[in-house]
C-alpha cells in the first residue's frame, strides 16, 4: 500500500500571546506538527503495519517545515516531500500544491486531519479529492476494514454515525478521536534524520499562489469582562456570590 499523509505545521498555539493594547497576536513562537496531522500519521502507520507498503508525509509551508517534518518521520513515515516557500497560503493554494505532488505517484490512500487546529477550515480533503477525481471519506472516527481494494470506515457526523465503504484509491480525513498518536521513541528519532526528505518550491511545481481573499484584520476579540476578583474565606465568598447570582440570574 502506498499511503500519503498530508500534514501541517502550526504555531504552538498555547504559547501565542496577545498584545493587550493592540490585540494583535505575537507569532514569535515555535511551530510543531498539528495534532490532527499526528492522528492521520498514526492511522497510516497502523495500516502499513498491517498491510505493508510505504507512508509518505507531504506538507506545504514555511522553511520551518524542514525541522517540523522530522516529527512525522520520527512517528514512522518512510520519507517526506515538503514545499517550504508557501507560508500563509490558503486552502485553495495548498490544495493545488499538494495535489501536484500527489499526482506524481499513485497513492492508494491519501489521509489527513479533518481540519487543522489553527484555522479549523476543513477544506483540504474535499479540494484534493476533487482535483484528483477521487472519492472522499471525511470525519473518519474508525477504520473498520482496509484492503488493497477497498476501505470501510465509521464517520462521526453531527447527528449521526455512518458506516461507509469506498474503493481505493480514495481520500480520508480523520477526527481527533480516531486514535492516540504514538510518542516517538529515541530509536525512531535517530532514524528520522536518515530518512529522505525532498524539498520543492511552489515555482518548481508550476503553481501560482492565488490570493482569493484579503485579510482585513486578525485580532483578539475585545475583552470587556469586569475581571473583578472576589476574596475571602469560603463563607465570605459564598455570601458574595449568592448575592451576585440573585442579581444576575
Amino acid at each position: 500500500m502506498k499511503i500519503a499523509v498530508c500534514v501541517k505545521e502550526v504555531y504552538n498555539l498555547e504559547q501565542v500571546k496577545i498584545i493587550k493594547e493592540t490585540r494583535e497576536p505575537i507569532l514569535d513562537v515555535p511551530k510543531k506538527l498539528d495534532d490532527l496531522s499526528r492522528n492521520a500519521l498514526e492511522e497510516a502507520i497502523k495500516i502499513r503495519e498491517k498491510l505493508g507498503g510505504e507512508v509518505v508525509a507531504i506538507s506545504a509551508g514555511s522553511p520551518d517545515l524542514k525541522k517540523t517534518i522530522k516529527e512525522a518521520l520520527a512517528m514512522g513515515a518512510d520519507r517526506a516531500v515538503i514545499v517550504t516557500d508557501c507560508s500563509n497560503s490558503t486552502p485553495e493554494s495548498t490544495a493545488l500544491i499538494l495535489s501536484k505532488i500527489l499526482e506524481k505517484d499513485s497513492y492508494d490512500l491519501i489521509i489527513m486531519g479533518d481540519a487543522s487546529s489553527d484555522d479549523y477550515s476543513g477544506q483540504m480533503a474535499s479540494r484534493i479529492a476533487e482535483i484528483l477525481g477521487l472519492p472522499q471519506i471525511t470525519f473518519v472516527s474508525e477504520i473498520k476494514e482496509v484492503s488493497e481494494e477497498k476501505i470501510t470506515c465509521v464517520r462521526d457526523m453531527d447527528d449521526y454515525l455512518e458506516v461507509v465503504e469506498a474503493d481505493l484509491p480514495c481520500v480520508l480525513s480523520v477526527t481527533n478521536e480516531i486514535n492516540e498518536p504514538r510518542i516517538p521513541a529515541l530509536k525512531d528519532i535517530l532514524k528520522a534524520s536518515k530518512k529522505p526528505v525532498e524539498t520543492l518550491s511552489a515555482n518548481d511545481l508550476g503553481v501560482e499562489i492565488p490570493q482569493p481573499y484579503e485579510i482585513i484584520e486578525n485580532l483578539a476579540p475585545e475583552i470587556d469582562r469586569r475581571q473583578e476578583v472576589i476574596e475571602g474565606d469560603a463563607g465570605d465568598v459564598a455570601r458574595k456570590l449568592a448575592e451576585i447570582i440573585r442579581r444576575e440570574a
Partner: protein, 417 residues
C-alpha cells in the same frame, strides 16, 4: 513555566530537542498524573511496585539508552540519557521513577563496557523492556564509601564463583523479585587480597527468567522517601555465579565500578535538576497566588532574593550535568582518544555534589515559603524533598567523597594525606 532560556553555550541538537519533547509528552501522559499515587502506595507497602508504569517506560525506550541496539538498547548517547532523566524527574520529583530509569541505563551500560558477550545478550534486552532490573550492589554493613574495604568473598570453584557476604542499602531488591524476568546487580566481591586490587565485579542475578536463585536472602527497608523504588539488603550464602557473569578482569573490579559510578552519577545529578525545576515552579506559582500583609509573598526581598540565589544554583547545576554528559559521550560513545575515563572524575563529582544539594536546599526553602501547608501530607512538596535527599545522604556516592575527589585532583593527592 520555568523553561530553558535561549542559550549559546548549553545547546542541543534538533534530535536531542525532539527527544526531550517526546519524553516530556510521555511523562505528561503517564508519569505526572501518577507519581503522587505511586509514592503514597509504596509508602504503605514497599513491595507495591509500579510494574505497569515501568513496563510502559520500557516500551517507550527509556531504559538502556546508550546501550547497543545489538543488545536491545536504544543506541543513544549519554546526553540523551541525561535529557530523559531530567524530564522524568520533572514529572516525578520524588525521583523514584527517574532513579529506576537511570540505574537501568547506567549499570547495563557499565555491563556492556566491561561484561561478557553472553551476559550482555542475556540481561540487557530484558532490562530494556522493563522486565528486569539491573543496578549496583557495592555497599556493605560496615560501610559504603570505603569500597576498597568490602568483605563479601567470592571463591572460584571450577567454572563457578561461590559468593558469600552481605550487601545493604541496595536499590531494586523488591523490583528484582516483582518484575517479570527478575534481574540483579553489578556486584562487587573480593576474589584476591586486601584493598582495591583484590576486588572483582559480577553480574549477580538474584532472579532470572522468573526463577529465584539459591543462597539469596533479601530484606526490604522502610525508606523515608523515594518510595516508588525499593531499597533493601541481601545475604549471600554460597551464591553461585557462573564465570560468564564475571565483569571485566578478575581483581580489576574496583576500576570498572569506579567508571560505572562516574557514569551513574551523571544521571543521578540529572534527576535532581529535573526535580529542582518542579520545585522552582511550585515556588513561582505560590509567589503569584499567595498574599500576606496585602502583598504577594515574593514582594518581600528576603523571599525573592533567596529564590534568585536558588534559581542561579539550579542553572549552574545544569551546566555541570551536561558538561559531564557531553564528556562521557566523547569518551564512551565517540571513543575520542583525546579524552580518558579519568577526565570524568572532577566533572562528575561537581555535578553529583552540586545537583542534589541544590535540589534539597531548594526543597527546604520552598517548604518554608509555603509554611504550614507544606507540613501536611496533602502538599506533595515534602516528597520532592525526601526523595532527592537520598542523594545528599550518600546514595550513589557520598557528598563528601565528591568533595574529596575534587580536592585531590586539583590540590594533589599527596597534599591531602
Amino acid at each position: 513555566m520555568i523553561d530553558f532560556p535561549k542559550n549559546t553555550v548549553l545547546t542541543f541538537s534538533e534530535e536531542e530537542e525532539l527527544f526531550r519533547e517526546s519524553v516530556r509528552e510521555f511523562c505528561e501522559r503517564y508519569i505526572a498524573p501518577n507519581w503522587i499515587e505511586v509514592d503514597k502506595r509504596s509508602e504503605q507497602n514497599p513491595m507495591d511496585i509500579p510494574v505497569d508504569i515501568i513496563k510502559k517506560m520500557g516500551e517507550q525506550g527509556l531504559f538502556c539508552i546508550p546501550c547497543s541496539e545489538e543488545y536491545g538498547g536504544q543506541g543513544g548517547t549519554y546526553t540523551m540519557a541525561t535529557i530523559a532523566m531530567e524530564e522524568i524527574a520533572y514529572a516525578d520529583p520524588s525521583v523514584a521513577l527517574a532513579v529506576y530509569a537511570l540505574l537501568n541505563t547506567g549499570w547495563p551500560f557499565a555491563l556492556e563496557l566491561f561484561g561478557s558477550e553472553e551476559a550482555c545478550q542475556e540481561i540487557i534486552p530484558e532490562v530494556a523492556k522493563g522486565r528486569a532490573f539491573f543496578g549496583i550492589a557495592s555497599t556493605e554493613p560496615q560501610g559504603g564509601s570505603d569500597v576498597a574495604g568490602l568483605k563479601t568473598r567470592a571463591e572460584k570453584k571450577d567454572d563457578v564463583y561461590v559468593i558469600s557476604g552481605e550487601k545493604t542499602f541496595i536499590s531494586g531488591v523488591g523490583e528484582v523479585q516483582k518484575l517479570e524476568w527478575g534481574g540483579g546487580w553489578f556486584t562487587l566481591a573480593r576474589t584476591g587480597g586486601e584493598g582495591h586490587k583484590g576486588i572483582s565485579a559480577f553480574a549477580l542475578l538474584a532472579r532470572k527468567n522468573g526463577e529465584l536463585a539459591d543462597g539469596w536472602e533479601p530484606t526490604i527497608y522502610e525508606d523515608i522517601g523515594r518510595h516508588g523504588l525499593t531499597t533493601g539488603g541481601f545475604k549471600l550464602t554460597n551464591f553461585e555465579v557462573e564465570s560468564k557473569y564475571l565483569i571485566g578482569e578478575e581483581n580489576r573490579g574496583f576500576y570498572h565500578v569506579m567508571e560505572g559510578f562516574n557514569l551513574a552519577r551523571i544521571v543521578v545529578a540529572a534527576a535532581t535538576i529535573g526535580a529542582s525545576r518542579w520545585l522552582l515552579e511550585q515556588a513561582v506559582e505560590w509567589f503569584r497566588t499567595r498574599k500576606l500583609f496585602g502583598r504577594n509573598i515574593s514582594a518581600f526581598q528576603g523571599v525573592s532574593f533567596k529564590f534568585a540565589d536558588l534559581y542561579a544554583r539550579w542553572e549552574a547545576s545544569r551546566y555541570f550535568v551536561y558538561r559531564a554528559s557531553r564528556l562521557a559521550d566523547k569518551i564512551y560513545i565517540e571513543k575520542d582518544p583525546s579524552y580518558k575515563p579519568l577526565d570524568l572524575n572532577v566533572p562528575v563529582a561537581l555535578a553529583k555534589n552540586y545537583g542534589p544539594e541544590t535540589c534539597v536546599d531548594l526543597a527546604e526553602e520552598v517548604m518554608k515559603w509555603y509554611g504550614a501547608y507544606a507540613y501536611t501530607k496533602e502538599a506533595p512538596i515534602f516528597r520532592a524533598w525526601l526523595g532527592p535527599f537520598s542523594y545528599v545522604i550518600g546514595a550513589e556516592g557520598a557528598q563528601n567523597i565528591m568533595r574529596l575527589i575534587i580536592a585531590r585532583d586539583i590540590i594533589g593527592r599527596e597534599y591531602l594525606k
